[in-house]
């Protein structure tokens, strides 16, 4: 072991005893190991398979009350939008002359509704909703879009199982899809 490495190894052992631990195996040994507690506080994302969904649950009925109190002012009493995004309707319009893209008509995953509302809504008080409130609001938004019945409740297991109407509506990046030719003279 080189002297340098030896010193680093020893200092690592010494530092183990204090809260600021330098990780040993890396090239630069810069940064502090993230504790589970620290990660838990920031790790708010939810994946399509349901990974990251917190414990708890909520009902369409509870969500309806929360929506009226915390969301309707910006998204409309029935999710029709104005001033902010429309959240309801538009199913069957994606091929139309004026497509209406909402949670119900366009979003491929229900988990994204939970993830987004939990992190970013209500717009003026983000990260203020509890997990239960977010389940309830997600349930209500899905109900308004005809995806859940009026009596439904949601929790981690049931949310991850929902299949959204436009689940298969996405394709890969089809570019390059425009073969222009660099004509230089008498082109038109």
């Amino acid at each position: 072991m080189s002297t340098h490495k030896f010193i680093r190894a020893v200092s690592t052992v010494v530092l183990m005893c204090v809260p600021f631990v330098v990780h040993a195996q890396s090239k630069f040994a810069i940064g502090t190991p993230a504790s589970e507690r620290e990660i838990k506080g920031w790790d708010i994302d939810v994946s399509p398979n349901g990974a990251g969904l917190p414990a708890g649950g909520g009902s369409v009925a509870e969500g309806g009350k929360l929506y009226a109190a915390k969301c309707a002012a910006c998204h409309g009493a029935k999710g029709e939008g104005k001033p902010a995004d429309r959240l309801v309707g538009g199913q069957g319009t994606l091929k139309a002359a004026a497509p209406v893209k909402t949670i119900g008509s366009f979003w491929p995953y229900a988990t994204t509704v939970f993830d987004y509302v939990y992190r970013a809504m209500p717009y003026s008080a983000p990260q203020s909703l509890s997990a239960n409130e977010t389940y309830a609001l997600t349930a209500y938004l899905l109900h308004m879009n005809g995806i859940l019945g009026a009596e439904a409740t949601l929790d981690a297991a049931s949310l991850a199982k929902i299949r959204m109407p436009n689940r298969d509506g996405f394709v890969g990046d089809g570019r390059p899809d425009t073969g222009n030719l660099p004509c230089r003279s008498e082109c038109k």
């Binding site: 190991p33 091929k95 992190r119 717009y123 996405f170 222009n180």
Partner: protein, 423 residues
């Protein structure tokens, strides 16, 4: 005693400067008029007034601002945003000259306002499929080996209003979600190596510390290729609206993915399908499907002079000038047409022509005073040729919103007025 007297002098000078400065500011509206009236007084053979007195005090203790005569060179929004913090303010391309966008004019696009972040309290967390989850302070990140690179940043919604009909009455409004800076920071690959990426990791979720907690999934290949964690732009700390104190930067990718106010990176096997990569930033096609993960910005160009912001005062010589850029690599050639696309001439490219940076092009032109249409067409080193609008619409219809990169047409009227047209 001496010290006190110095203090009093300093206060007096400061007051004098203040009065002088505020006179300039409040007088701004008629300063121009006064100048116009007396223009001849300051032209030869007369000695200009500003040579006959000492100029203003030096800038000790000040952050430099543009001349008061440049007061109209500002970022501007479209004025259609729902909330003050959700929208964009665009770069005045019609006023810029070289390839670099000054920091005060770099476009901004935010989804829930600009957070005020104390760099001493800011943290970046790196976790998920890594051997050692880590937390970095800003001081930590600045200790790593650093890199500086010049790259453009373009919102994929740039020119999105041009799909259906000519919209922008200014090149700032049509193309101003585009800027180009020198970015300094640490390679993302350096940080990932530091934590040790686990086998099977294919994606990195990047999350901002703004009220939107903006999140995008970044492919691991890009993270390792040329992604940067940036803390400086054009030599100084990032501006708050551009991500202070830390942002992700993905050269050539749609701007939204270069997450500002970066606080968290989570390594994973699968993409996260966030709202910003499903509901938004997907490109709808005529058959009702939408393209997902359209990351790269294709080759594009626009004439920034003359543009609808300008008026040709007389026939004669003009230097046509504009910007070309491509997320695919380098600009190889820019052709310019001064007859509505019939004939094209190769423009001169200003060096340096850098990968994933804007390239300034120029073409000398004699305007004969007749109505005509000006266009530019970029070719990049992947062989890609900037399309015309009909080709784009034929493939993608009218509802793709993002990634509109068609050849832009500026109509020059016999009056010298310039307007945005589809041609």
């Amino acid at each position: 005693m001496k010290k006190q007297a110095d203090g009093a002098n300093a206060a007096r000078n400061a007051r004098r400067n203040f009065l002088r400065n505020s006179a300039v500011l409040t007088g701004g509206a008629f300063a121009g008029n006064a100048l116009a009236q007396n223009a001849a007084d300051n032209a030869p053979p007369n000695v200009p007034a500003w040579m006959k007195k000492e100029g203003r005090a030096l800038s000790d203790g000040q952050y430099g601002l543009p001349s008061a005569f440049e007061k109209n060179v500002l970022r501007r929004g479209r004025g259609d945003q729902v909330m003050p913090g959700s929208g964009s303010a665009m770069t005045p391309l019609q006023n810029l000259r070289g390839m670099i966008t000054p920091n005060g004019l770099v476009f901004e696009r935010s989804h829930a306002g600009i957070p005020e972040i104390d760099p001493a309290q800011h943290r970046l967390m790196l976790h998920g499929m890594v051997k050692q989850p880590l937390v970095f302070t800003m001081e930590d990140l600045m200790r790593f080996p650093s890199v500086s690179r010049i790259h453009f940043l373009e919102c994929s919604g740039n020119t999105s209003r041009e799909w259906k009909s000519p919209f922008g009455k200014s090149v700032q409004v049509s193309h101003g979600l585009l800027s180009c800076c020198e970015w300094t920071g640490v390679a993302l690959s350096t940080i990932l190596e530091e934590a040790g990426v686990q086998p099977g990791a294919q994606w990195v979720l990047a999350e901002g510390a703004d009220a939107a907690a903006m999140t995008r999934s970044v492919p691991m290949a890009k993270a390792l290729e040329d992604a940067m964690l940036v803390y400086a732009q054009n030599g100084e700390a990032l501006r708050p609206e551009n991500g202070y104190p830390l942002r992700l930067f993905l050269p050539g990718f749609e701007g939204n993915m270069s997450i500002k106010w970066l606080r968290r990176l989570k390594v994973a096997a699968e993409p996260f399908m966030t709202r910003e990569e499903t509901s938004k930033y997907t490109d709808s096609l005529p058959d009702g499907t939408a393209r997902l993960f359209t990351f790269s910005m294709d080759a594009k160009s626009v004439i920034t002079y003359p543009a609808p912001d300008h008026k040709l005062a007389r026939r004669g010589f003009y230097e046509i000038s504009g910007l070309a850029w491509t997320g695919n690599g380098r600009i190889r050639r820019v052709d310019v047409s001064t007859d509505g696309g019939r004939n094209w001439r190769e423009a001169a490219l200003q060096e340096p022509v850098l990968s994933r940076a804007v390239t300034r092009f120029r073409l000398p032109w004699q305007w004969d005073g007749n109505a005509t249409i000006l266009q530019s067409r970029a070719l990049d080193d992947s062989g890609y040729v900037q399309p015309n609008r009909a080709q784009l619409v034929a493939q993608r219809g009218l509802h793709s919103n993002y990634h509109y990169n068609a050849i832009q047409s500026w109509a020059v009227a016999a009056s010298g007025e310039i307007s945005n047209v589809h041609a």
